[in-house]
């Protein structure tokens, strides 16, 4: 295939012609660029100490290294060394290194499970029968037209950039699986389709963790939680403000979503 391109547009046009099915699914290119050069820039920008206390916030100091790590441009070891070099005491990089280890953990599981990562690891803990979940992703979700400002904005961002913050991935997955009762596999495939770091191990096993087929209980959230970690940006402008699916206490949502008492 060609190696000479005068511009990124030219590359995009060439790839659209060579991979028409992929382009038909979504022709956008991400602002995040591939290549060792881009990986190095990201690595130099990491702030593991800040990460330790703000990583759950959407505007927190997350590294955005995942596409580079996923494709071997950087090893987990290199990321760890860079983090240690950035702090006075290794302890200050502990949270960051723990997250790197999550990837290693999923990869080790992948070695034993293979394509089994597409199957439930354990029965779900929601009290609902497998038939309660629909098999395909509803179109309003895939197109970012649910009417929920947060969910729609996550979809728009995912489609445009191929990246989502970890917390947004968790909320989105919980919305798909628990609030809309869709099989986790449909959501996982949607993510693999778009994520630059898309990896069947980290992705599918995280979906299973949310779904509770690889966890002791399902992961879900309420609006208060989302509002806190997003600074309220989505909720403020949301057409469903005050009456959205996520309103209520955890106890109320638990009653609404599941068939068993979790707490």
């Amino acid at each position: 295939m060609n190696r000479d391109f005068a511009s990124r547009q030219e590359l995009a046009a060439y790839l659209s012609a060579e991979f028409p099915l992929a382009a038909a699914r979504d022709p956008q290119l991400s602002p995040m660029r591939g290549g060792a050069q881009a990986a190095r820039v990201r690595l130099e920008a990491i702030d593991p100490a800040k990460y330790g206390f703000n990583r759950n916030y959407l505007d927190g100091s997350v590294s955005r290294l995942s596409p580079y790590i996923r494709h071997g441009l950087l090893t987990l070891g290199e990321a760890r060394e860079a983090a240690f070099a950035r702090v006075k005491d290794r302890f200050h990089a502990a949270k960051f290194v723990t997250e790197l280890a999550w990837r290693d953990y999923w990869q080790r599981l992948y070695a034993t499970l293979g394509s089994g990562v597409w199957q439930d690891r354990e029965p779900s803990k929601t009290g609902l029968a497998p038939e309660a979940y629909r098999a395909d992703l509803p179109a309003d979700i895939a197109q970012g037209r649910t009417g929920l400002a947060c969910i729609d904005s996550f979809v728009t961002e995912l489609r445009a950039t191929g990246y989502l913050h970890n917390h947004a991935r968790m909320w989105f997955a919980a919305y798909v699986v628990h609030f809309r009762r869709v099989r986790w596999q449909a959501g996982a495939l949607f993510f693999l389709s778009h994520l630059l770091d898309g990896d069947p191990a980290s992705n599918n096993l995280s979906w299973q963790w949310v779904a509770s087929t690889f966890a002791h209980k399902p992961y879900f959230f309420n609006r208060e939680n989302l509002e806190k970690y997003t600074g309220g940006t989505h909720c403020r402008a949301c057409p469903a403000r005050g009456r959205c699916d996520f309103e209520g206490s955890y106890e109320q949502l638990e009653d609404r979503l599941f068939r068993i008492k979790l707490t």
């Binding site: 790839l15 071997g72 280890a101 953990y105 495939l189 778009h194």
Partner: protein, 134 residues
């Protein structure tokens, strides 16, 4: 006898063990159309890999990984290990036709023994001291 370096989506770095061992060897990356369709990749995923490959001294093709590699009639193939089942299948198929050397990827944790992977907490109990020690 110069081997053919097989690049795949898990090892796209010049400091990957295959290049370190065989600097200057011809290298080939094949966009696996079966994988792209199975995972429904959108164009941005392909473009990200493509931009990465443009910085590497390699040739790029698309189609069936095994077919494209064997079409080069290599005397042998060298690559870096991956736990992806597609990679493992491809290695098995290639080995029927040509010697394949799979170099281990650089491990994150050099743990000797079997790790309990039932839950992250069990794994973490074993690896945490190693990660913060070395």
């Amino acid at each position: 006898m110069t081997p053919l370096l097989w690049l795949h989506p898990d090892c796209l770095s010049l400091s990957s063990p295959a290049w370190v061992r065989y600097p200057g060897a011809p290298a080939l990356f094949v966009f696996d159309e079966a994988e792209i369709e199975a995972e429904q990749w959108t164009l941005k995923r392909i473009a990200f890999l493509y931009e990465t490959l443009l910085e590497l001294p390699c040739e790029i093709e698309r189609g069936s990984v095994v077919e494209r590699l064997l079409a080069r009639r290599p005397a042998r193939i060298v690559t870096v290990g991956s736990v992806n089942p597609r990679f493992r299948d491809a290695v098995r198929q290639l080995e029927r036709a040509v010697p394949v050397e799979v170099l281990p990827a650089v491990p994150f944790v050099d743990y000797r023994g079997t790790l309990d992977l039932k839950r992250f907490a069990r794994y973490w109990k074993r690896v945490e001291p190693i990660l913060f020690d070395s």
